[in-house]
Homo-oligomer: 300 residues x 4
């Protein structure tokens, strides 16, 4: 299954029915399964981290709106904490049940976090987020569109708006007029979210530096990337492959208050399993970065 | 120089000083050279098509603003027609001097053309254009950032705003509050411009279909791509490699008037030499599509 | 199906049962179908070009050996001419039934052709052919191994020897001790065959030049590529995408008689449909290059 | 310089003239520098690992033959041990001076090691090694050929034979009639060497399994990859990016004694700095795998 792990592990897949009680249970199933079996899972894992979309939204009506079906366990929605430590570190530390995060939602939420935390956005206008993604976002199974001869070399805007991860950004950022536009490019791992908004009148570049540095200082996996020289002046997903970092960058056009905020992540790490492990560390009272120390590769 | 032409041509490079009079002269030089020698070139070519940025802007002040230097031949700016047939077919047909077009400007202008021609955009807001580009945009010479080991696998937002091609979009579309955000991806040929705007109150999807079809009907190299099925539902640059087509697509969110308009081109064809040849055809009174019949490849 | 052909053709797929008589019938079906229906097809097409592997081998026993099943119409094998004009131009011109060619076999046969035609190989040793291929070789359907996230970035030697196309090289080159080793790389269109052999004692580089130039002179789609300077000194498949050329190159180590002969093609053109069209042109008495004039793109 | 290390290290480059004595000194300079300054360096580092090609060959005449210049410190050649632990673990453990290894030489040497160690090759014939390489082999500096628009999508056989790394394979394997053919493909990190040879009469697949498993058992970074199912049945460089593993595989055609032996590595790790660190660990008496535990990524 994971050929890179040869000679390094003897771990085998076993039947879910054979699960024995554990301290922390990760659920990594297709959407819909966890919500139907959540009662049973709580008997196996005192602490649960569910990577699916089942428990990300707080409101059952939102779930129905975005996923076009009723939630099977709405009473459980309020018991889960949204699993992005940069947003909910304290709550995660105390929680028993943690949801996973959408990869595109994570890149979007972290691109907006410094602006929202410092209350710099003029919310009278729209927030537009353009997201470029690699092919591993589509999961492990292929289809005719993911066939290499079709998927290679693409610049394919497969969702102009209405992507389900939008719901997580609206919920977590508290911004209603927001859209995610999704474009697939030729890469396996990586997401770049580029958010466009207007800042409030009077906001200058110095304010942004302060806001971004604050977020980086508060979070071990957030870095600000804004260089004058070199090939890597802005957040770049490729050097994050395998790492849990979220690299943030920004540009402000003071003449018209247009801010461009960028966040690069590895969708399979910070955008999925990396954040999940980080949550486990917090829940267990361990060092938040445990097992997540890999720095990524260069060149790659 | 162009290894694909082996056994097909014996054309050789010769010194510019040895040029003999021709019916139509193409200038393909670094920016700055044509404006210093334009008088001389008019003695060689009765009709001139200059692919550089020297004569794209009508206003010498604009040139100075965007290129940070005074124009050397401002009196010639008014004698050139901007060389995008979809915008200036009639004028080009009668012109003696034609400017080239910026590749990113072309993708942007054509993404906006149906909306502007039908007067559908609410101009009280900003127009944001996100552009994804291949490596051939950078010209034939490499640098440390274009080295394959650094340039492969990128999603690199190298210009948040302020790209010089913006000036051509402002001029040609007559929209002031517009920005181009440039992101390099792993591809050689191709540009996709994704424009975000608000449509006027009351505009519905049907109005957009009418506007886009009108532009496609008026222009032999414009197609509308908006499919419900298949792998190629939206404009996709890769299948345009070598072709002169501009493929347009759109999505409208009627709930909040957000329109997403896309244009895919081959930056070296419709975004440069293809449009230049199309202009020559018009100037010479020939069939507009002469020499530009290649349809692109699939798969690729 | 082929999105690049939008606005250029209204051709539609129709049911095979509705076929009406034609001058030339191309069969492009999965292996096995043509051999079961060949009698019927001859009533529709006076001239037939079958692109499958059904009629490539002359000997029914060879077919059974390489394809592990009995041939359904062995009496037809002798009526077909192997459809590579560089090997059988005269016979093709007079034939009614032409087989297609294997793409890897074609690259191998053309890499060896100058050496075999000039009788330069020392056949007491083995001929080893290393072939690197793009993903379009695998056909239009994807599988888990062709999923972009798995297929991107590969250098995957999926067949050390025993590839079925080997049978076509043995048959056409008359060499028994020959092997094809197949390695998939990250490309969509293109094959490079690199053949290793020993030349006969006394053969020098000048003899090779003569042999390769002879083949290029005899064949409109063969070129010799062997440059001292530039980025394209050797045959390079990428610049052949969409073209019907076979580019040949070679190096000889006179100290130990080791010759390395290379052939680059587009597997979908010279290695499949391009050669098929070329055969049709010959059968119909038309210019051999008709409809095959595309020169490929650079850069790409 | 290495943007992935942001927030993880404050290490800075300093002038070589400011070097202070260290336990182990790594030299990573262009070829030629170490040999001119080796006396000086021994005063700084009691143990030296030189990654350049300066001290890889034991014989000054070989150096002159392959590098076309006299060696500046021939008396030092005998003091260095060739730095591939799989070949010289004992000597490395006791050595003060270790040479680096050529990346292509390493993939070749390890592909041949099981066959040579078990004495299975029929040396009356040639050994042909076909090597496919990524762009990071070319070093950190770009040139016109490494420009992304030219280097992307290549299958480029840039050296048919005569590559300098051949000298290291001849020296270490003790085989004279051997050639390395180098082909660049579209990948950043990774090398696959595919070696072709004849085994001695009577050798069967079972003998090869024994030979390969023996090498894997003796070496912590060697694995045998030879699967019947899945997408990763053979050694595949891409999943080794960042790891120090050498994955070996083989196929034997018992009918004609043709063996195909494959070795995949990350050229920057096992083929360069990874082996260098492994050597340091051995020299210092530390665990051989220290600092080299990264397992690579999947998917990638």
């Amino acid at each position: 299954m994971h050929p890179n792990l040869r000679k390094r592990t003897q771990v085998k897949f076993s039947d879910p029915a054979q699960l024995e009680p554990v301290d922390a249970l990760f659920l990594a199933q297709p959407r819909g399964q966890a919500q139907h079996n959540i009662e049973g899972y709580t008997k196996i894992g005192a602490k649960i981290i569910d990577l699916s979309a089942d428990f990300r939204l707080r409101d059952a009506a939102d779930y129905e709106k975005w996923y076009s079906e009723k939630h099977a366990a709405p009473e459980w929605l309020g018991k889960f904490v949204y699993g992005l430590p940069e947003l909910h570190r304290e709550d995660i530390s105390k929680a028993h049940y943690i949801s996973g995060v959408g990869c595109n939602a994570t890149a979007s939420n972290l691109a907006l976090l410094p602006l929202v935390q410092a209350d710099l956005i003029d919310l009278s206008g729209s927030v537009i987020i353009e997201i470029k993604v690699g092919s591993s976002e589509g999961g492990a199974d292929g289809n005719s569109g993911s066939h290499h001869a079709e998927r290679a070399n693409v610049i394919r805007t497969f969702s102009a708006f209405g992507h389900r991860h939008t719901a997580e950004v609206i919920q977590e950022m508290g911004i209603q007029d927001i859209s995610l536009t999704m474009t697939a490019v030729d890469l396996v791992r990586g997401v770049l979210a580029t958010a466009h908004a207007k800042v409030k009148a009077g906001v200058i570049t110095k304010d942004l530096w302060k806001a971004y540095r604050a977020v980086a200082n508060q979070n071990p996996f957030v870095r600000v990337v804004k260089e004058q020289r070199g090939n890597y002046r802005v957040p770049e997903p490729k050097i994050l492959a395998g790492s849990n970092y979220a690299d943030l960058g920004f540009e402000l056009d003071e003449s018209n208050r247009h801010v461009v905020s960028m966040c690069a992540i590895d969708n399979l790490m910070k955008g999925a399993s990396g954040s999940a492990v980080q949550c486990m560390n917090l829940m267990m009272g361990w060092d938040e970065t445990l097992g997540l120390e890999f720095t990524g590769l260069h060149p790659i």
